[in-house]
């Protein structure tokens, strides 16, 4: 997948994956609200076009690093819904066998190097994976998803600069959803476009409408193609919005302006692609509804899988700290 114009199949698949993310996180949000799942869950609802548009350009052997708001990235790159829900439930069948939770899912087989609870920490790791891609000379790339808030962290600057100096095939995808936690992006940055940081990092930078999956697909496609050709990293800023609160659906700590929410919801990326697909007679409204229904069934099956899955064995507590397992307990 790396043509600029998506094929029909790609369009349909992008629609499906956006819906899958949406439905997944709507349910995950409810599960958290009802205290059915433990811990913290950060919802990707509203931002689906970013992960899906970018990952539609990636192969299974390309790498991504993800964030605390990572469900969308996993699903976009092909993650397994059952293992995801199982992980959110903390079950033994989950992606991390119950040890990571919502904020720390990874799937090495799909090149998903892992979600991260530390804001900005994915940048340096992405540079490292990018080094591997460069070393192998097989056209692999690495995508680093990060937030507008994360762009203030030194680690992102170090990673961007390093990737540019070493000419690594890394695409830094900034999901500018207007907020870092509860503070507006204007409290995090004096610049209006995070993409402008590319100037200082020494790489190409671009702003793209993150509510338009086709625009993201195209811009990501260009950046990824350049990286595959050995022409180095890119910073791609996707302007987007999260429909729910920083944590869960409504954390209750503060409210964003109603008109702001309305403005962005009017640009719902799924509705937007849906309309385009219907107009182009690719997927009728009815078929779209069917996809949503199918997805919901998938989700319910995944949740059922999670619920029925066993808890990790108590012995798991001290497993996988090291490889291979040490004979006894290490350091008491």
């Amino acid at each position: 997948m790396c043509a600029m114009e998506p094929t029909e199949a790609q369009l349909v698949e992008m629609f499906r994956r956006m819906v899958r993310i949406r439905e997944f996180d709507e349910r995950a949000g409810l599960l958290l609200e009802r205290a059915i799942v433990p811990g913290a869950v950060h919802l990707y609802v509203g931002e689906e076009a970013v992960a899906v548009g970018v990952c539609a350009q990636l192969n299974d052997d390309d790498y991504i690093t993800s964030t605390h708001r990572g469900h969308g990235h996993l699903i976009a790159k092909g993650g397994d819904l059952g293992k995801m829900f199982a992980e959110i439930y903390g079950k033994a069948t989950g992606y991390c066998h119950g040890k990571g939770g919502s904020m720390h899912m990874a799937d090495q087989s799909l090149g998903i190097l892992g979600a991260n609870g530390i804001v900005g920490a994915g940048g340096p790791i992405a540079a490292g994976a990018g080094y591997t891609c460069k070393f192998r000379k097989q056209g692999q790339v690495t995508v680093c998803f990060f937030g507008d808030g994360a762009a203030a962290e030194g680690s992102m600057h170090e990673a961007g600069n390093l990737a540019a100096v070493l000419n690594l095939p890394v695409i830094f995808v900034c999901e500018n959803n207007l907020y870092g936690e509860f503070a507006h992006v204007d409290e995090h940055h004096a610049i209006s476009d995070i993409a402008d940081m590319a100037t200082g990092w020494g790489m190409a930078g671009a702003v793209v409408d993150g509510m338009d999956v086709l625009a993201v697909f195209e811009a990501a496609g260009e950046a990824i193609a350049r990286a595959r050709r050995g022409e180095g990293p890119t910073l791609l800023e996707c302007k987007t919005y999260r429909f729910y609160d920083h944590l869960g659906r409504d954390y209750g700590l503060t409210k964003r302006p109603e008109d702001e929410i309305a403005h962005w919801k009017a640009r719902d990326p799924i509705a937007r692609l849906g309309t385009a697909l219907a107009e182009r007679s690719l997927i009728s409204a009815a078929d779209q509804d069917r996809i949503v229904e199918e997805t919901r069934a998938e989700i319910e099956a995944a949740i059922a899988f999670a619920q029925e899955s066993p808890e990790p064995a108590p012995s798991a507590l001290l497993e996988d700290v090291y490889v291979p397992e040490p004979a006894g307990t290490t350091n008491g």
Partner: protein, 327 residues
Amino acid sequence: MPEKLFSQGIVEAQAHEMRTDPTIFVAGEDIELGGVFATAKGLREEFGSRVFNTPIAEAAMTGLAIGAAATGMRPIVEIMFMDFMTVAMDQVVNQMAKMRYMFGGETRLPLVLITHAGAGHQNAAQHSQSLEAWFCHVPGLKVVWPSDPYDGKGLMIAAIRDDNPVIYITNKLALGTRADVPDDAYTVPIGKAAVKREGEDVTVVAVGAMVPEAIKAADAVAERGLSVEVVDPRTLSPLDTDTIVRSVRKTGRAIVAHEAVQFCGYGAEVAAQIAQHAFDALDAPVLRVGAPFSPVPFNPNLEKAWLPGAEEIIASIEQLIPTGARA
């Protein structure tokens, strides 16, 4: 005395000092909303721009405190989760802790870095650590960790008034507990341990969240007729060794408990000091209660198994004084 949230006492401490000292400011991520642990709740409303949000940049936030303190302010900066102190370690360790000494005593840094530690809320490996031992290993820093709302308020006032950089640690879960806290300003002195419960048979030195757990353990074994003394260092650095050693000399047995990983944890220092300075008075080896050698797991059952608490303290007491072994 009115009953208050632990977090509320910390708020009051800051507000009290801010009213009389205009050089105090409070900065942090989302601190204008009171901070995600509510330890600055309402301060923005009362103090306006003296309480302000920062970008997500822990090294710069810490440098903000250092540079401002070096030039005459008394900053209070929040590093939300203690795990995020890792991002600011150079500023804390190479700058904040060393400037005064390195510059020949000409600099003073009256600042407070407040941060929140501990597991038990299913936030997994990167949002649950207790890293106090690192900071205690660094000369030039003071480190306090109050275990109850009264000490919380009093130590915060003391930390603000101290002319040295103070790392003020809370246990996240404890912040939601309540106890009697006076309305007025008072200090709990930095550098003084507290005997939180008197006892004769064994001393438990407990840090932070392990203090209430030690008291629970003491209650439990009291039924067996055992009398446990619980000592809370409160200030981890500089450590009030005297109070601890005095207690152990009385009881002849000691357990050191903290939530952090046991290996190379703070308890190692306390245990080593007890074993050295109360050598002749010890009837049994000093035991330690701490977390096992793994990151904090997400799954609630595993996390519970990871977390040390009253149960482990009781087990250690049993090990020191087996049932039936006592007259």
